[in-house]
Amino acid sequence: MKVCLIDDDRGPIDLYFEALQRKFGDEQVARILTLPDAVKHLAAVGSERERPHDLYIIDIMMPSVEEQYFEVTDEGLTSGIFLLKKLREAEQKLGLQKPIPVLMMTSVSQPEILERIGKATHVDVLAKLEWLPSELAVRVEEDLTR
């Protein structure tokens, strides 16, 4: 599939998901709603049991009782950065020449936090609600064609 949305949020993300489906087709957009499922998927990608998606949109913070799924950052524990690391590890195992595009999404509003996370992860961090669903779909399309 082209796009995988990893987020437990059932509000705006529902709308983003539908907009992506309209843009790329229902079959081209996957959704993972829990942190353990995301971890399983990335582990399966790393061991070649599942194919990676072409682009991931990852929520910075998803709830879980499993503390090992979090990465410690200046902003506290963030599951999104943990998942990003797992994805990058999987890419290395697969010998991919260039990294899979990732967009991080968050409800955090403070620009300085978004900037810090962006610098630390080398991916763009998007604030939820800042983007209309159709805008996000266009942005994803642009990233996929870079």
Binding site: G11, G76, L77, V108, S109, Q110
Partner: protein, 228 residues
């Protein structure tokens, strides 16, 4: 201007009150109504972009908030609070609530017994609760009275991160202020977490706490309708 949910909620504080009233008045169809509002906001192609975006933000805020209020899955056991943040750390932050909601994940209610991790909303089947902060865990002022929250407050909180335990939330006061948004939680001197009759412990039930809030919401809803 960066406009995430956090700041959007500050921009549109009236949304809290309206959602609470709408949900109390018509819990069966409100979610679908709000969903239709979103579709409407997104399909106004001729509308200027900034206007359309504000309509989108408002409508999605209403939709997200009402889903939390009416969602079975916010029952205890699944909430962020119970899984992510040590109660003591969360409690310390309650004093500093700033009025922000990221993704409302849990509805709490303040009673004379403490703060309940609960779902005190118009849907009565979601009345189960458990203690999040027992009385002895509540923050106290210099005279030993619980502070920072007061009886009748309904807190909608998001526990967004573990470790450093950041909590962001809003307060919708129920009994006294009629579901108005409160932007902060100043200490309430001499007030404590006791009901007006001075009852402590388990004498008052959850329903007693919630009923006035819902009754007030319904009363206001009725008063807003034009006379037949």
């Amino acid at each position: 201007m960066n406009q995430s949910l956090h700041s959007a909620l500050h921009r549109f504080p009236e949304i809290y009150r309206q959602v609470a009233i709408d949900a109390a008045a018509d819990p069966e169809s409100i979610e679908n109504d709000y969903r239709i509002d979103i579709e409407t906001a997104l399909t106004q192609a001729a509308t200027p972009f900034e206007v359309r975006r504000e309509a989108w933000q408002k409508s999605i805020l209403r939709y997200s908030l009402v889903r939390v209020l009416l969602d079975d899955s916010t029952l205890p056991g699944r909430c962020h609070i119970s899984t992510c943040v040590p109660p003591r750390e969360a409690r310390d932050h309650l004093v500093h609530l700033s009025g922000a909601v990221l993704q409302p994940a849990q509805v709490l209610h303040v009673s004379e017994d403490g703060i309940l991790a609960s779902v005190p909303h118009p849907n009565p089947r979601l009345g189960r609760f458990r203690w999040l902060f027992p009385p002895e865990e509540l923050p106290k002022d210099s005279e030993g009275n619980p502070q920072a929250v007061k009886f009748g407050d309904v807190l909608i909180l998001q526990i967004h991160q573990t470790g450093r335990g950041r909590i962001q939330g809003i307060v919708i006061t129920g009994v006294e202020d009629g579901l108005a948004l409160r932007d902060d939680l100043p200490p309430v001197e001499g007030h404590g977490l006791y009901d007006e009759a001075g009852r402590l412990g388990n004498e008052a039930t959850m329903d007693e706490h919630i009923a006035p809030i819902i009754a007030e919401a319904r009363r206001r809803q009725r008063s807003q309708k034009p006379e037949e």
